[in-house]
Symmetry: C2
């Protein structure tokens, strides 16, 4: 028991050749009933289990997939990993998980290691799909893979939210409620092509509705200083009534900070988040947000990889428009000035004569 039994042990205990033992256990060739019985008994006796390592060496398949994401502490990625893992699991593949912490060096290093481990495929979220060294290695070796939450390019499949369209939707939601000066609050703006895409969509949306270019508040960490930063930001943008926050946690935090500043949400400031985490619907006010389906995305990317491995060249493509939906919530409403006054101001072409009020310094 100390040393696990090998197929040779099984063969010699069953009194047959290794080839025969292999054929019995894999049902990969003709075998007599007698032999079957003897081999199976030997397996039982020795508690034999195949070594996948030996198998992999011979078949050059590992039944293992590399899954590279920034961090599973972020529930969006956690859900995606969950979806991918489940899908791979039911297809008989195991998932080798690496978290990069948004660090391109760790990302590159991790991918090298996974390649050395001969994974059969990859599902990965890279920092920047165009420059990622790791992604290039994967492409060069033609290892089946699918991006997740990265922008698709000409030659890359990707399951991801259509950030640009989603941001447009957010603008529309604000406009419907009569907002005409918006802001964008983002975390880790630099290191993520997704965040940039989202911002671009937001800018485009604002310009489409003849609004001023949205004010941008960029923060480094989930910083404790958010309250102060927010205060300064709002002072610099006194007419701003709506804020698009790049993820729901940050949005909840922002609501808390706004309260600390004596502002009411949505009375003084409307907020729309991004991701659609469950708690967003449990809190008061409920959070208006873009709902996405990270688990579905992870599962989809996994299916794409699986079909690529099988050589079936028709993976199910995500339809961009269905990658998200808008969820209304109490954090979005008509600006206070509107409510008291002319409801008609809440039209699609903003009157541009509204100003923000009572931002108590």
């Amino acid at each position: 028991m100390r040393q696990p039994a090998t197929i040779k042990d099984v063969a010699s205990l069953a009194g047959c050749g290794v080839g025969t033992a292999s054929r019995v256990l894999n049902k990969s060739g003709p075998t007599s009933n007698d032999m079957k019985k003897r081999v199976l008994m030997a397996v039982e006796e020795l508690r034999f289990e195949f070594s996948e390592v030996g198998r992999s060496l011979q078949s050059s398949k590992t039944l293992t997939i590399g899954c590279v994401v920034p961090s599973v502490a972020n529930p969006v990625y956690a859900d995606a990993v969950q979806g991918a893992q489940e899908t791979f699991q039911s297809a008989g593949y195991q998932t080798l998980l690496v978290c990069t912490n948004y660090d391109p060096d760790i990302e590159a290093q991790a991918i090298r290691t996974l390649i050395a481990k001969q994974v059969d495929g990859f599902v990965l979220t890279v920092g920047d799909a165009l420059s990622s060294e790791g992604l290039k290695s994967i492409q060069r070796r033609e290892i089946p893979h699918c991006l997740l939450f990265n922008m698709a390019t000409d030659n890359e499949k990707s399951w991801s939210v259509d950030d640009h369209s989603a941001a447009l939707n957010v603008v529309e939601a604000f406009v419907e409620k009569g907002h005409c000066h918006l802001g964008f609050l983002a975390l880790k703006f630099k290191s993520s092509d997704r965040a940039r895409e989202r911002y671009q969509g937001f800018v485009d949306g604002c310009s489409r509705y003849n609004m001023p270019k949205p004010a941008l508040l960029e923060i480094d960490e989930d910083s404790h200083a958010l309250t102060d930063l927010l205060k300064e930001f709002l002072n610099q943008n006194p007419t701003l009534t709506g804020l698009f926050v790049s993820n729901d946690f940050l949005a909840l935090e922002t609501i808390r900070c706004a309260r600390t500043l004596g502002l009411s949400v949505p009375g003084d400031l409307s907020i729309i988040g991004f991701d659609g985490i469950k708690v967003g619907a449990m809190v008061e006010p409920t959070l208006a947000t873009i709902v996405t389906d990270p688990k579905g995305m992870g599962s989809g990317a996994a299916r794409t990889v699986l079909t690529t491995i099988k050589g079936e060249e028709a993976p199910i493509q995500p339809v961009p428009e269905l990658t998200f939906s808008f969820r209304a919530g109490g954090s979005l409403a008509f600006p206070a000035a509107e409510r008291k006054g002319d409801e008609k101001a809440a039209t699609l072409s903003p009157p541009n004569n509204l100003t923000n009020k009572n931002l108590k310094n």
Copy 2:
């Protein structure tokens, strides 16, 4: 490039034997500077990378750890996995992740597969540490491993929250605020030894303070029917003023349901959660809860496995008392009847003459 280069290719391009090439690349023996140069050039030229599969077969080490948890959709496990993964990563190990969805069959099957893949160790949360088939296999083969969030037994190391003590703490927190009839709301009570342990601690705590045995409300899923169940539960326990909820998400959901029923939290019902998720501190009222450190637990379990692998028999043991802490929050307060009336009732030996009020049917 189609077929990755092997060390043989490197050797023949460098004009040396495979042994020499191996020695150069692993610095595992004497080599001349000339050879070093030639081998390194050949590696560059062929873009050679070691196959870990071949290596593993030879060394019977895979530098891979199996990590088995119920689900990473649950942020507690996600954080734990994150911690474990980081720790393993920096020690040069990769993490093979499996989610069991709380299903003992999947658990057993997954562990078998991981054993076949020859993982060097395991970090795992099993449904029931005493009966888990998978755990038995691991023990039988003497594979280094450490439990996570399971109760430690005589011969098993485990990093986990001291659920029993934590539940006692919760009772004390309620008692300090003058509550004298408590309830316990749990999810998946059956399949988890942790939940049972927590309940036991709660029961013990109540009896210690001469309170009636706590009422138990057990639900199957994150059920939509919670509002109705809660209503019925509170009707059946009219004197109940404090509810201990087995996780923070469920606690937030419970607060929402209570509101739907026209009850105020904490006015009519005080609530204490479990886990200490971040949003708990962002919402209104903030959630009183037991704060735990899942990431630290995951990392700790990983360190235990690593030291076991190295044969160092002195893994850092978690100190039970430091596995959790109580965080005060707005969801816990003096019962409404108390507030209006006699503050002195809030003592350690409850007067037993208090009754619950205004539970509007």
